[in-house]
Point group: C2
Chain length 218, copies 2
Amino acid sequence: MVTRQSYDQELEALRQELLRMGNAVAMAIEDAVQSLAKQDVNLARKVIEGDDIIDKMEVDIEDKCMVLIARQQPLARDLRIISTGLKITTDLERIGDHAYDIANVTLRLAHQPLIKPLVDIPRMAGMAQKMLHNALEAYFKLDITLAEQVCLADDEVDNLYQQIFRELLTYMMEDPRTISQATQLIFVGRYLERIADHATNIAEWVIYLVTGQRLRKK
Amino acid sequence: MVTRQSYDQELEALRQELLRMGNAVAMAIEDAVQSLAKQDVNLARKVIEGDDIIDKMEVDIEDKCMVLIARQQPLARDLRIISTGLKITTDLERIGDHAYDIANVTLRLAHQPLIKPLVDIPRMAGMAQKMLHNALEAYFKLDITLAEQVCLADDEVDNLYQQIFRELLTYMMEDPRTISQATQLIFVGRYLERIADHATNIAEWVIYLVTGQRLRKK
């Protein structure tokens, strides 16, 4: 028989593992965008190689959730902790994939000068990273107010993405030689917009965890 | 006390709900790509409005999984049926989102002639749809061979995406007036490539369900 105390310890261990995965994913975004802005191929390779570790973290967390479910009959809040754990790990893994995607763009653009120094893309990345950071903090503190702030911030990221998108289209139209690179940078904008969506999903899972109410996901 | 028989019935009901959701999602891809090729705004709106229904199916399936977990202590195969159900419904929901994304491209391009009749995009959609169909069939028949075929087919879709991508870049370089539309069509290619990735994920979940072995996900 598993005691309530040891069960609580296992739930806490699950939360800690999610935090570690969240930190690994946040670092992957940071490194990926830095690698792009500085055309640093080695840093991009580090992100690409690190994706396997993030994927493995997801598998470990899922397995831990399954063991907790199998050994217990979790109800209400406990069940929501585990089910949101399963959901959040999926969102984190997808964010890691997008960092991997951005690092691949770095490799693709490594042997050509950037059409302009990147300013808005790192800014957008900073906004998405802050959303992820706040979503994870909201999860650990069960802080609904912070979770709601994350959801609201998503509109700003969407607006910046639209601005970046239009600007890159203009570049392409004015100078067709920029088309190939600008297309890749549009993809990067899209990946960052998706990262912000996943951070929003995580914040919505926190609201579900605390209130039992599900919001419309993106 | 829930009897084994009624429990088996509930697991079967879960599988049936996943099939219904899979069919709804397959229809959404079909309609979205048809709406794009035929510039049919009404059909695009149908896909966009239908996305709420698909999202609701995901929530219902997740709730059903949670109830099954809470009322039972599922082990081994039973636990894998439920945990893969949770994962597959997430992949299906993401596929539905991409159908929604494609329908939005239809609306964006509605008031301009297509730069050329769409041939490769519907072909790519057909391949992705077939992968989804086979992945769902593999799930219902627990057919590993079929699931492995789905995983192999993903490379063909990736190759076709690269071909579409290069062709659209060429269009843009030769005639900058096509840039805005070609960029949207590149997005559609990317969404279809992601749909094929999610079908591959589902096939990999089937392999996990049957063998207990997890493959590297995309």
